[in-house]
Point group: C2
Chain length 310, copies 2
């Protein structure tokens, strides 16, 4: 049995996962990300012990611990090089965790873990080559080739920072025109606001009570009720998403592309336009929704040892 830890800016989630990828038990605590890394990692270890005990097992039943962390992860050293949400900087997750629990500790980026979880036990378990794209606050991506997370010389893939519009919008990363600047949920909120500003009669105004309530769902909801402006926002947004998806097909030609993250809850109303834009009838790649939701990160982390164990 394995422990998978999904370390996020808000919560630390720990799951006990069996060899078939089933979560036998899971629990979570607040990350309180402003704290020192040693306190956060101590909480990860404490919660691990609790999850194991609450399930009726002991630490001796666990083969290894896998951790999915935001940011850039050096899996060889077991170090989080940087993670904006956590104020981590060259943080030695592995050695720090092992002060509390003496087990092998494997580390990877959280988007890579989610892709790996889907590839091992979720929407892509029937193929060996898949890409998972997470449309959330940012645009995350993980690539699994021949059943293994594709990792480069520094870190994993940063699909969200592929430039799709070289003279375009500034991105947080310092470059211009990154996919994330157009296709993230944050970008959709910005696009929605701009359209609402210019169209005071749009039904989108009826979907919210205050401007702060604008969300990634506002335009989708209004469009479903027949709002032309809302539909335009949705159409253009899905084109931005599809440009990046097409690029992923040209670059990797994977068997499957899975779309996850909050926006993917819109289901077929986002998948169909993307498939049309990418002209999928001509291609062998399949575009589907991710299946495991928030559990993908725990399951992928739990399976890291299967990839990295030497």
């Amino acid at each position: 049995m394995y422990i998978g830890i999904d370390l996020g800016g808000t919560n630390i989630a720990v799951g006990l996962v069996d060899k078939k990828g089933r979560i036998l038990h899971k629990d979570k605590v607040k990350t309180r990300a402003e704290r020192n890394y040693s306190e956060i990692i101590k909480d990860m270890a404490e919660l691990t012990k609790k999850v194991v005990t609450d399930s009726g097992y002991t630490i001796d039943d666990i083969e290894w611990v896998g951790v999915g962390s935001p940011g850039k992860c050096d899996w060889n050293k077991g170090v989080v090089v940087s993670a904006a949400n956590l104020k981590f900087k060259n943080t030695p997750i592995r050695t720090e965790f092992q002060k509390h629990i003496n087990l092998p500790v494997y580390l990877a980026n959280d988007a890579d873990c989610a892709a790996f979880g889907e590839a091992m036990c979720g929407g892509a378990k029937d193929v060996s080559n898949s890409v998972m794209v997470t449309l959330g606050t940012g645009v995350g991506g993980g690539v699994v080739l021949n059943g293994q997370i594709m990792t480069g010389v520094d870190f994993g893939s940063e699909l969200g920072h592929m430039v799709i519009n070289f003279d375009g919008l500034e991105c947080k990363c310092g470059r211009r025109g990154c996919w994330e600047a157009y296709a993230s949920a944050n970008a959709l909120v910005r696009q929605t606001k701009e359209a609402m500003d210019q169209n005071p009669d749009s039904l989108m105004w009826k979907e919210i009570e205050t401007l702060e309530n604008i969300s990634g769902r506002t335009a989708f909801r209004a469009a479903n009720k027949g709002d032309v402006i809302g539909q335009k926002v949705v159409d253009r947004y899905l084109e931005y998403v599809a440009v990046g998806i097409c690029n992923i097909i040209e670059i990797f030609q994977p068997e499957k592309i899975l779309i996850g993250g909050g926006v993917s809850n819109e289901g077929d109303s986002i998948l169909e336009p993307i498939r049309r834009f990418c002209d999928m009838k001509k291609r062998s790649t399949v575009i589907e929704r991710a299946l495991l939701g928030n559990d993908a990160g725990i399951i992928g982390a739990a399976f890291l040892g299967a990839q990295y164990k030497k």
Copy 2:
């Protein structure tokens, strides 16, 4: 020993390659691409026999034949699915070739063969993960991960058709804003012409005798002589190249990116600006010139059996 065949729109080049990747002997004939595939493939086989005999060997000394072809190649079936330059359409290279010489025949796209040749015996032989970008008539690319050509469900990677400007120039492929439409030698010629049209005083006019003589080198030559407009063309062109190179780094984080094709003959005067644009000091990826020139295709094709043999 192996045979590597570089099938091009102009020439068929055949090389006898030893296990260390040295070309012991090579020869070429005109492709005469307008012909029926069976005649072209017969010529490939005839030239193979000639190269083997001329080197003092016999066909029994050869372990396998590798073919690099333009277009989309189905390596499992040994079929060229389509190749515009050759009027090939679902052309069964393997079975047709074996009518003449009964040896295992392996097939891959020519850009992938070049990348594989550089990875096995050229500029990337010291690393396991590399990407080769060929700036020629089009923009070709091949990706080698863990020492193997990255192949997707349909064909290999089409890096040149990664969109870098979604509302941009039309590409031959039908999409808008592909990298190839900005970073190929053809694109550079177009950019040069446009600048010359607008600047009748540019030194670029002195570099050519007639408009048909404009080449990928015109702007570089004028820039070297201090022409401000020529320098602007070069700078902007190299930015277009660098946008795609940066994307490749974000996507693959390879150990090395090699740049080949005609434009790469400009050497450090193109590499340095690209490295600056991509801010390579912050990254572990190394950008260098490809080493094997036109031989990369023959050598990579000759080594295909090492990847595909089962």
